[in-house]
């Protein structure tokens, strides 16, 4: 059959055809020629986001607003399809067999630059494996800072973040969400303001009271190894004016019995016990955040007020499978 000479059509129909393609086909089409790349750039609008994971094996995800089936995964060094990514079909992963021993991330940078240029996308998510990026973090971050300094999410996984690297990140970038699944010695730095803060260090003791009380956030998912005394101090600190920005947070710990804490709090914090039969719905903040979505129905709980302005808050055990407290501020 004779070819369909797509590029001989007027521009608008060509763009329409490209908009009807899946992301994977748009990418392949863009690789046909410079003209095709330009066509994809014109068709792409602002509907793409790039998520970058720098782990022992690096992965780049081009995400379209069209939905999950329009997502492409690029993986380097034959990234295996592992458990957490079971939802994606195998053919959505493009593998780049390549050894990155130089630590310069040359191939990754080439691809990122190509995707950013071709799909007009912003880098929405940066996730670093602390050990894998230990000596290259700042130059790598500088590469991203050439095009943007604001990211939706920055995350550190596994290990210990170098103090200087963390300070460098906080000084040079803006982010809506910070996700720490690691240790950071300098977490108590001044002016620590994050909209969505996830701190997941349940099995290590490095988070101190000082750390917690220096940070402010609107939404929090705090998984820390804290005892009942620490927990009461957090509640008291809020009553005394700590973290006035906070709207909703989940505090999870394994150290103490939540039922016992519920009894003790009535003796320590002035407030009112709400019957378990009373169900209240906390107005939802973001559908993107799983932890807020599943915990917004409050059953009973303990109501108390901030001293300064009388703002009401409720703490109650989350109805989910994990043993954790919901801390909701009504404002």
């Amino acid at each position: 059959m004779a070819p369909f000479f797509l590029l001989r059509l007027p521009l608008l129909p060509v763009l329409e055809v490209v908009k009807h393609m899946k992301t994977k086909e748009m990418y392949n089409f863009s690789r046909c020629s410079k003209k095709c790349q330009q066509t994809v750039r014109n068709a792409a609008g602002n509907h793409f986001e790039l998520r970058l994971y720098f782990w022992t094996e690096n992965e780049m995800i081009l995400k379209s607003k069209k939905g999950i089936e329009n997502t492409i995964h690029f993986s380097f060094e034959n990234f295996p399809v592992i458990a957490w990514s079971w939802t994606r079909s195998d053919n959505s992963v493009r593998r780049f067999p390549y050894k990155k021993y130089s630590g310069l991330y040359i191939k990754e940078k080439e691809l990122i630059k190509y995707l950013v240029e071709t799909f007009n996308c912003i880098i929405g998510e940066l996730r670093f494996h602390c050990d894998a990026t230990q000596n290259v973090f700042q130059p790598l971050l500088n590469f991203f800072l050439q095009s943007q300094f604001e990211f939706h999410l920055v995350a550190f996984d596994e290990g210990i973040v170098n103090d200087e690297d963390f300070k460098y990140l906080m000084d040079n970038c803006k982010m809506k969400e910070l996700d720490l699944l690691c240790s950071v010695a300098v977490l108590s730095i001044e002016d620590f303001k994050i909209d969505v803060f996830c701190l997941r260090t349940l099995y290590s003791d490095w988070v101190t009271q000082n750390h917690l009380l220096k940070m402010t956030f609107e939404l929090g998912y705090i998984q820390i190894n804290c005892n009942m005394k620490k927990w009461m101090e957090i509640v008291k600190a809020w009553m005394n004016g700590w973290n006035k920005r906070m709207k909703f947070a989940l505090f999870e710990t394994t150290r103490f019995d939540l039922d016992l804490a519920d009894q003790i709090i009535e003796n320590v914090i002035p407030g009112k016990r709400i019957d378990k039969e009373v169900i209240r719905q906390y107005p939802m903040i973001s559908s993107d955040l799983n932890f807020t979505r599943h915990s917004s129905v409050l059953r009973g709980g303990y109501d108390f007020q901030r001293k300064e302005d009388g703002v009401l808050a409720t703490i109650t055990q989350d109805s989910g499978p994990q043993k954790r407290y919901v801390f909701a501020v009504w404002q």
């Binding site: 059959m1 004779a2 070819p3 369909f4 000479f5 797509l6 590029l7 001989r8 059509l9 007027p10 608008l12 129909p13 329409e16 055809v17 490209v18 908009k19 009807h20 393609m21 899946k22 086909e25 392949n28 089409f29 690789r31 046909c32 020629s33 410079k34 003209k35 095709c36 609008g45 509907h47 607003k65 069209k66 053919n91």
Partner: protein, 179 residues
């Protein structure tokens, strides 16, 4: 004695139910009748009808010449418009999301060879029929499914960068109208 009409008149089945009919003449002098509801799917034709002041009384006496569309494509277009004239109005696209299922009837209608499809999309573009444009674009976009860049280059007849450069050079080297 019956007299042969000067040009063939194509009757499309569905038009009979609608009392207001319009006549369209294609570039190769084929005459088509189309109902008011159907012709409204083409923004270009409906603008023309409105601007010419055609009404139920004088519409059939004033055929509309469409010089950019041949009879074969016009027949497909009239069939399409009659088929979809009572469709509910599609919700506006959010500029990028183009999610719909292409009905089997339309897929069959558009199962034509690439050259015909090319001419049909040009005609659709000219007549500004959004739904048919979407359906054509979906059919053409689907050709790319699971294809490599090398395969796409063949399917869409895409020149390489070197060929594009050579073409541009020869275009700039060739003398202009006065040269």
């Amino acid at each position: 004695m019956s007299v042969e009409p000067e040009v063939p008149i194509v009757q499309v089945e569905e038009v009979r139910e609608n009392p207001v009919l319009y006549k369209i003449i294609s570039s190769d002098n084929h005459v088509f009748t189309i109902s008011e509801h159907a012709v409204k799917l083409s923004k270009t034709l409906w603008d023309l009808i409105t601007n010419l002041g055609l009404t139920a009384e004088n519409a059939l006496d004033n055929p509309i010449p469409v010089e950019n569309v041949n009879g074969k494509n016009m027949e497909t277009i009239v069939q399409f418009c009659e088929r979809h004239k009572y469709d509910e109005e599609e919700p506006e696209y959010t500029n990028y999301i183009r999610e719909f299922v292409l009905p089997e009837w339309d897929r069959q209608l558009l199962s034509i060879d690439n050259e015909e499809l090319f001419q049909l999309i040009l005609a659709t573009n000219y007549l500004d029929i959004q739904k048919l444009m979407d359906y054509c674009c979906r059919v053409i976009g689907d050709m790319a499914k699971d294809k490599t860049p090398e395969e796409l280059r063949i399917i869409y007849g895409i020149p390489t960068d070197a060929e594009d450069d050579a073409l541009e050079r020869s275009a700039s080297d060739s003398p202009g109208p006065s040269g």
